[in-house]
Amino acid sequence: MQPVVSISDLSKTYADGHQALKNLSLDIERGEILALLGPNGAGKTTLISIICGLVNASSGTVIVDGFDNVIDFRMTRSMIGLVPQELTLGAFDKVINTLAFSRGLFGKKPDPVYLEQLLRDLSLWDKRNNEILSLSGGMKRRVLIGKALAHEPDILFLDEPTAGVDVELRKDMWALVKKLRESGVTIILTTHYIEEAEEIADRVGVISNGELLLIDNKQDIMHQLGKKQMTIELEETISVIPESLSVWALDLSDDGRCMTYTYDPLNPHTTITPLLDSLRGAGLLLKDINTTQTSLEEIFVNLVRK
C-alpha cells in the first residue's frame, strides 16, 4: 500500500547554523499510529513543522497522499490536522467559535452537527460558550485537538500531546487517539513518554540529532533490541559462582544471595532448562526465580546514548 506520507532526504539547517534534520527519510503508513521518540532538540517538532508547512525545508521532499507539500500545499494541508506543543489559543475566543474558525480556515463549510459531536467526544460541549481563558490546562489541550479535528483531517499530528497533562487526562487522550485511529485517521505523535508509545503506538521511530535512528513495529523493536533477565534467588548465600556455571556468564549480587542471567529471547540457542540443570548439578538450592524484559525506555536510552 502507498504510504500516506513519504518523506525523502529531508534536511533543515536554521539561520543560526543549527542542523535540525539530516537527510531524514520516513514512510508513514495509512491508518497507523506512529510515535516519534527523541530527546529535546532531536528534530521532532521541526519534522512535523515542515510537513505541515510551518517551516521551510532546506532540501528533500514531503509527499502527502501523492501530493508534494510545497507545490500542492492546498491538497496536502487540507488533509492534515496539527495539535501544537504549546497551548496557543485566543484567550478571549469562545470554544465553539474557535472550532468553527478552524473548520473554515481549512476550507470546510460550517457543520454545526459535526462540531457538536466533536465537542461532545472531547467532553467540551458544556463549555462551548466559555471563553478559552476560563478553561483549565487540560481543557485547553482538548480544544487544541478539537481545532485540529474541526476540518475532518485524514492525518493528525500531535506534538507532545500529553506534556504537562495529569495521568487521568493522559489516559483519556490515549483513548481518544485509539478511537480516531479506528475511524481511519492516521496519527503521528511525538512524545517524551515511552509509556505513551508503548501504550498506543503501532510503530515507533527514534529520532536523535536530526537522524532517524530506528523505526519499526513496536513489538519487533522489543524483540530485536530488548533483552530478558532471569534473577535466581538462592536459599543460601554464596561467595563465588561455582566453576561449573562459568559458561552461563552469571552475575552475582553483592550480598551473594542472587544471580542474574541475561539472555536474548529470540536466540534459538537460549534455553533455560540446561541452566536449571547446571544449577542443580552445582548443588545450589533455589528459593525463587523471576524474569523481566527490557522496557522500550531502556531501548530508547541505549539507542540515543550511542
Binding site: A15, A100, G104, L105
Partner: protein
C-alpha cells in the same frame, strides 16, 4: 479547491467581530478624537482664520482630519490583526491551513480596511454636525477613501509582520506616520508655507493623499489629482510587492 472562500470569510468575520467587541476602542475613540479636533481647530482657532481658497477653515480641515483617522486606524487595525496571532502563537493555524497569501490578505487587510471605511463615514457624519459640508466629486471621494484604507491597511499588515514586539508595532505609526500626516497639509494648504518648505513638503507622500482627497470635496488641491492618484496606486503596488515577498520568503513567519 481554487479559492479558499471559507477561509477568507472566517478571517474577515473574526477580525470584524474583534472590532465589534472592542467597539469603544475601535470606533468611538477615533470619533471622539476627531470631534475634539473640530472643536479646537475648527471652532476655537478656525473662527479666527480666514477662508482658505474659498473654503471656510472648519470645512477645509475635514478631508485632512478624515485622512489622519483613516491612516492611523488602517495601520493600527491591520498591524494588530496579524501581530497578535504572531505574538500568541495562534498564527500557526493560518500558516498550516490551505490558504494562499492573497486570501490571507483579503481576510485581514479587507477587514482592517472595512473598519477604516466605517470610521471614515462616521467621522464624516460627525463633521456634518460641526460644519456645512458638500462633496463635489463623491465617486472620487469614495475611490480615494477606499484606496487609502486598503493601501494603509496593507502597510499596517507589513508592520505587523515585521514587528516582533509591541514597541516596534508602535514605532512607525508614532514616529513616521503621525508626523507625516500632520506635516502633510491636514490642517493647512501647502501654498500657505514658505516656498522652501513647499518644495520639502512635496517629498511627503501623505501630501498627495490629502490633496487628492480634498480635491474630491472642494475642487481645491495642492498637487494635480492625477499625481495624487498615481502616488496612491504606486504605494499600493509597493505594499503588495513587499507583502508578496514576505510571504514568499516566509519573513518573520517561517524559519
Amino acid at each position: 479547491m481554487s479559492i479558499n472562500v471559507q477561509a477568507i470569510k472566517v478571517i474577515y468575520r473574526y477580525e470584524m467581530l474583534r472590532a465589534w467587541e472592542t467597539m469603544l476602542q475601535s470606533f468611538i475613540s477615533p470619533v471622539i478624537s476627531t470631534a475634539l479636533y473640530f472643536v479646537v481647530f475648527g471652532s476655537a482657532i478656525g473662527s479666527r482664520i480666514q477662508e482658505i481658497e474659498g473654503v471656510p477653515y472648519g470645512t477645509f480641515i475635514v478631508p485632512g482630519l478624515m485622512m489622519l483617522a483613516l491612516l492611523t486606524q488602517s495601520i493600527a487595525n491591520a498591524s494588530f490583526g496579524i501581530f497578535f496571532p504572531k505574538f500568541t502563537g495562534t498564527v500557526y493555524e493560518v500558516m498550516s491551513a490551505p490558504i494562499s497569501f492573497i486570501e490571507i490578505l483579503i481576510g485581514y487587510v479587507g477587514a482592517a480596511a472595512s473598519k477604516s471605511v466605517i470610521i471614515g463615514f462616521v467621522i464624516l457624519g460627525t463633521a456634518g454636525f460641526f460644519v456645512p459640508l458638500e462633496i463635489a466629486h463623491p465617486i472620487w471621494m469614495l475611490s480615494f477613501l477606499l484606496l487609502t484604507c486598503i493601501t494603509f491597511s496593507l502597510f499596517g499588515f507589513i508592520i505587523g509582520l515585521w514587528a516582533d514586539n509591541f514597541e516596534k508595532l508602535q514605532l512607525i505609526p508614532m514616529l513616521v506616520i503621525t508626523p507625516l500626516v500632520f506635516l502633510g497639509g491636514s490642517f493647512y494648504s501647502v501654498s500657505m508655507l514658505p516656498p522652501a518648505w513647499q518644495t520639502i513638503t512635496l517629498f511627503n507622500p501623505v501630501v498627495y493623499l490629502i490633496s487628492g482627497f480634498r480635491w474630491s470635496f472642494f475642487e481645491v488641491a495642492d498637487v494635480s489629482v492625477g499625481l495624487s492618484l498615481a502616488m496612491v496606486l504606486f504605494f499600493l503596488a509597493l505594499c503588495l510587492f513587499i507583502v508578496w515577498w514576505m510571504f514568499k520568503t516566509g519573513y518573520r513567519l517561517k524559519q
